[in-house]
Symmetry: D4
Subunit: 146 residues, 8 copies
């Protein structure tokens, strides 16, 4: 059994690497995908289409270019891991979770105990809530058990 | 033409009333729906099913009971308005927006300029971004133009 | 807000009546639907199409005629309550739950604590697990809160 | 022609092996998939996410982790075989059958004559009912006829 | 419970009237719909769009105009009855049955024993096979049992 | 039988009125819907959300507000009539036709012979091509034949 | 560009071979699939599941086993060719066409002029009508043009 | 990450080559697909099925044969680029855009500033608007960023 796993959310810590390393250590047959995680590049994704004086439209163009990648990858994924860190609003992560929920695409949340209450709707539609990347790897191991 | 409009998001200001009053003032044929907006009642939605010592499970049960209502109403709606206020994490609002996006259900966001950047992915999939309830009412008037 | 609620499962106790009476007592705007609950009539649903010497085919014809009703009602429902009693195999109830899960139709299970373990997969995809009809009514009241 | 066949249900006899051996003996181009069939591992699937004092939540977490695997595999399958043995409640097997029915995924049931009546709804939506693994292999041979 | 029933197929006998009369006699709450059953009008459905010298295109235009009605009504129906008589090719009836099967719309076939073998694929996907309109009415009564 | 018919396309002649009058003259039970046909109002649909210095964004906002109405009405319609006049680019009309085609929503085109070649892809997916509003009315009469 | 083409319908002439040979002669990258075309084997497809005294049930079981293959292959196909010969009822071919139409799966019909009128509904939903296998090959060549 | 990109629209300039060369220069893992871009061949696509005296039907047959290719490729694509040139009606390009919009398939428009106003509905549902092929390549590079 092989799996495509999309890693959504926080881009300022190396949680993606930890999961990928863990999966590799156990020889799991997983293709990991992700959004562009370079923050500046992501904010500038639409700049090549022409400058905008208005910040709303600059963000708008970049967000739509990013969506070409993120929605395609979410739709191709078998499983999505959505990570919420302790900074920023991270509404895009919650948006991805809602997108998965509507598509009936299974997802796991990854966040600290401190976020339980504000994330209760997001967790309610998830298949699992993990607090560490080790737990995510453990679940992936189980799911791919021969 | 009539419309079913679901009002998602912030529950601590009276933006829903403002929109409903505005729509009424213009005799718009709209059925407005909403989540349970009583914060305490919402947090306790699952309590009747038995007490939980663990706060995660209490939240979990309540969030799932709430989802019976919110998903049904979102699916019945022709249009969703998603309001982001200036407090709290409001991940459930972003979750609803993602849910709408995946269902191809049109939604309008309602938030201040200060939130443009963190909400860029949510706005990118919206049909409109409004900053005041008057603007929302104006759009509803236009959409329902005889 | 109004709701269509399909009451699936056990047909040998009066749990449907209890829920309907409870809903009525609270003036809830709910249309309750159900399979044919007369056991003998249900087993004989296909007999009018000709006798069968083989019990498999008799059951087959009746089950298919019953499915005309049950699937139509499940698809029309906003919410399904699936009741597991303490007798019989009740595979049709679990089948209905799986059917709901695949359609993303919210359902509530209603069963005793004794059945927790064998029903874990069925409960895992449910929006709530209740042990009494009072709890089901309580949830319906909450979901329909004005 | 090749086929992906998911083998759902009973995990206490070696019916999966029998079918796989039979398919191999006839050089059928089939990829067989299955849930985790180690009973204890399956019950403990969610334990890595933290201990639960309450058995309902332990089961809940494990069932949801298992569902990541089972739903993905059912959706990838071209055909599902659902086995009902003579022990246990096996509601998960009936749940899988209902899930397949709603997705219009063809499935075959495999059970003894003694279970005809309680399984009539499950059989009614199946493409075939077999009583032996040899019959299942025979059908697979026919379906894959060059 | 009410039902929308589309009566597809043979247009040269009064089987539709028989079923409608039977349903009325039992006060069943059913809305019956049907294709245009006036053979000449049906063949001429597209003539108002301009004459055709080529019979293929005349038939083509009429068949497409008829499809506006038939597909809309099939999609609105809860149940379809497909009647095969003893004359003509009746490929449109089999086409409707295939259309229903792909939509997972339940249908009943109505035909004589003589047609069992050539209709086996059509019957295999049906919820019931009836040989008389009385049997169809009997099933409708059962399905609508209060 | 009743019908919801969406009238898409050209907004500078009174073809919609002609069809509505024709339908009324024959007492057809049809609810006609349409986009906002006031050209200036349509171009200004998004202006209430704030001025734009850039014409692209002004058009963008208005087009998205219009889409709230047009997509909702197209999805609610049983049949769409798409009118191409002899002026302007009318890409929105072709866009609506493509939208209908993908949704399997039946549509009729209404245009002169002079446009046959450039509209061949649009006509290829249509249920009928009419050149006059009388023909459209004639088809509606046929489709609604009692 | 490559294509999966399912060849549905008549099993008593060698039209499938003609098309496959023609495609090979032009080096077209096509995977052709088909139902089991051995008439006796097809009628006996369900016999391994146990004998039936009643011919309806024998046909029923075989038709359902055949459907495991045919529906899977139709759903995997990019294009379906449906052949109607001059003998037999061939309702299964019309059933397949209706099934394709509802799934929005493009299909081509292949039949003589003599069958134009009875096949008008089937042809109306087809992408093309061919009278010879050479024409089908010609279309395949065009569709796969580099 | 790899991508399938369908290049829809204008067939009289070499914009497709420019994009393909640009993608190749950056070693992007993209499979580009397109309609048949030989204008005469495209107009004659249905001629092998028999001559037509009426130009509407000649166009009709060719457009339907072309649709076998174009719809299959659009559905297989992860992203569509829709090019509008400065000549011709190009309604097929707008039709493809509408088709993509309804399927929730992301598309980019490629056209000059002069076409902003008439294409506003088409642009409103697009993920990006580009004016040069270099911009399209730039977006593809970003989307495929490792």
């Amino acid at each position: 059994m092989s799996l495509i796993v999309y890693l959504s959310g926080e881009i300022h810590t190396d949680w993606r690497d930890e999961i990928e390393r863990g999966a590799k250590a156990h020889n799991l047959d997983i293709l990991f995908t992700a959004p562009v995680t370079d923050h500046d590049a992501s904010d500038a994704a639409g700049d090549c289409l022409g400058e905008e004086s208005n910040s709303f439209w600059r963000d708008h163009k970049s967000a739509k270019v990013n969506a070409i990648r993120t929605r395609t990858l979410i739709e191709q994924a078998d499983l999505v891991v959505v990570r919420f860190g302790d900074k920023y609003k991270q509404w895009n992560a919650a948006f991805d979770a809602g997108y998965c929920a509507a598509l009936d695409k299974p997802y796991i949340t990854l966040h600290d105990e401190a976020l339980i209450h504000p994330l209760k709707e997001v967790d309610a539609a998830a298949q699992a809530w993990a607090t560490t990347t080790e737990q995510v790897v453990e679940i992936l191991r189980y799911v791919l058990k021969p």
